[in-house]
Amino acid sequence: MCKIAGNEISLLYCFLLNYLENGVLKLKYDSLSVLVKEAEKQNLPLCKLILKDQAEVAETEEKVLFENMKRSFTVMRESVETGLDPHERSASGLTGGDAFKMNEAVKANKNICGKIFGEAMVKALAVSQTNACMGRIVAAPTAGSCGILPAALITISDDRNIPNDDVVMSLFTASAVGMVIANKASIAGAEGGCQAECGAASAMAAAALVELCGGTPKQSEHACAIALKNILGLVCDPVAGLVEIPCIKRNAMGVANAFVAAELALAGIESAIPADEVIYAMKKIGEAMSPTLKETAEGGLAATPTGKKLCEKVFGSCQNCK
């Protein structure tokens, strides 16, 4: 680690010291392909590589970070349960009860996409609903997109009886994908639109799903690229500025997309455009997006006649609809 001596702060010196002390360079999280190559080189699954690195960075034991992540996963599970309540409405009164309805359909075997897709959608709606009701959730990477990752992981682990600890580990893989996206593009709707939130969550979930289902780090990278490509350009246009419409249903879409991407990657299908370049494209698209489509609730669905009407219903007047 680098310490400052006098007024001299030499970056190169820090860099060298770091290298000499640790033998390896710390991961920078600015490229997925670099992470994947490192995992291949060390012959480790991504989750273990990331946990090891994160423990070094935080100067703590792996066990401590693992336990913290386990706590997050417990909260994720709880947030699914809370969101299944049929009567709970959001503070605005605009949303509520969707997870319950979907759950009824799946339980009655009436949904058309089968059990896995049905279960995943139920859970994504539930967590997202908990969030809208000012309940307790884990941002992953944000609150608006908080249903996607837990829905993907809980669904696959319940279906395949994957041990809880393995699922917790896969959250480190997901976090690495999120870190790269945050470092190279953005994970905020206000900066990059919904592609940055639900897109990032979907890509994170896709990479983790691949790992949990026995895929290689390279396949996780492809799944991440595919998931993100499918959501490129999605704007952030919450009705009345509330994280409810369309956010809750976009979580259902996000988890479905994560399964699509993971499924393709596990079948050996590759993304023609590498994940790092997709992330760069996402950044550029976010920059090109009009500010009216970046969380300001001035465009898109928020500016539709019905969107404006709902806004008036909540606030008495619509401050954003010009």
Partner: protein, 220 residues
């Protein structure tokens, strides 16, 4: 630098990490800068915050933070009531701060004795924040690690004095910035460190010539 729990986390109260968790943390930071119990708060929202703060509950979140609540406190949704119970008066304004991040809030707190503190912070996504200004000082603090703020006379060798004390106590610096109002005037060091910093170290720093203050701000 971003870490895993910046992405998977925080554990928080909905509905929006940029508007809720981030806002709680900016509010908490303002309270810790004031260092005493605030009795009044003026909050000026800029950019996207100004346009959507009501819908996202950003107003409730900032007040919750100023009251010292954590990002996962279930009382955030009723923070206005808590403020009334605790005797905190507050006002919101919509404004446009030049060149600021879209999600920016400026908070001016006052305590019963009339002491004031100003903090400007941005919520940069996923509940992460950057404190851009503390009173008259331009800063860049993430609030994720303990931070030492050292105003001092702008004379040569001050950085060496402070960094030697830190190094001598085994404190590792991972973020450093220095700014001053004018040459020979007052300068401020903002030092972000790894792990915990012992309060006694700031006392030692304060005893040095030309040091005006040394405040440790705990990670938030």
């Amino acid at each position: 630098m971003l870490q895993a729990f910046d992405i998977i986390g925080p554990i928080m109260i909905g509905p929006s990490s940029s508007h809720t968790a981030g806002a709680v943390r900016i509010g908490k930071y303002a309270r810790s800068i004031l260092g005493t119990t605030p009795v009044s708060a003026l909050i000026r929202f800029s950019g996207s915050f100004a346009k959507t703060y009501k819908g996202h509950g950003t107003d409730k979140a900032v007040i919750a933070g100023i009251l010292g609540m954590e990002t996962d406190d279930e009382r955030i949704r009723t923070s206005f009531d808590v403020a009334e119970e605790e005797g905190l008066k507050f006002t919101f304004e919509e404004t446009e701060i030049d060149g600021a991040h879209p999600n920016t809030a400026e908070i001016i707190l006052k305590d019963a004795a009339g002491k004031e503190a100003l903090v400007q912070g941005a919520s940069i996504g996923g509940g992460n924040i950057i404190i851009n200004r503390i009173n008259d000082t331009v800063t860049s603090i993430s609030g994720k690690s303990d931070t030492l703020i050292v105003p001092h006379e702008d004379v040569p060798g001050m950085v060496a004095v402070v960094s030697n004390i830190l190094a001598g106590n085994g404190v590792n610096i991972h973020g450093f910035s220095l700014c001053r109002d004018h040459k020979g005037g007052t300068a401020v060091m903002t030092i972000e460190i790894d792990g915990n910093i012992d309060e006694s170290i700031s006392k030692v720093i304060l005893e040095q010539p030309n040091i005006l203050a040394a405040t440790v701000l705990k990670a938030i």
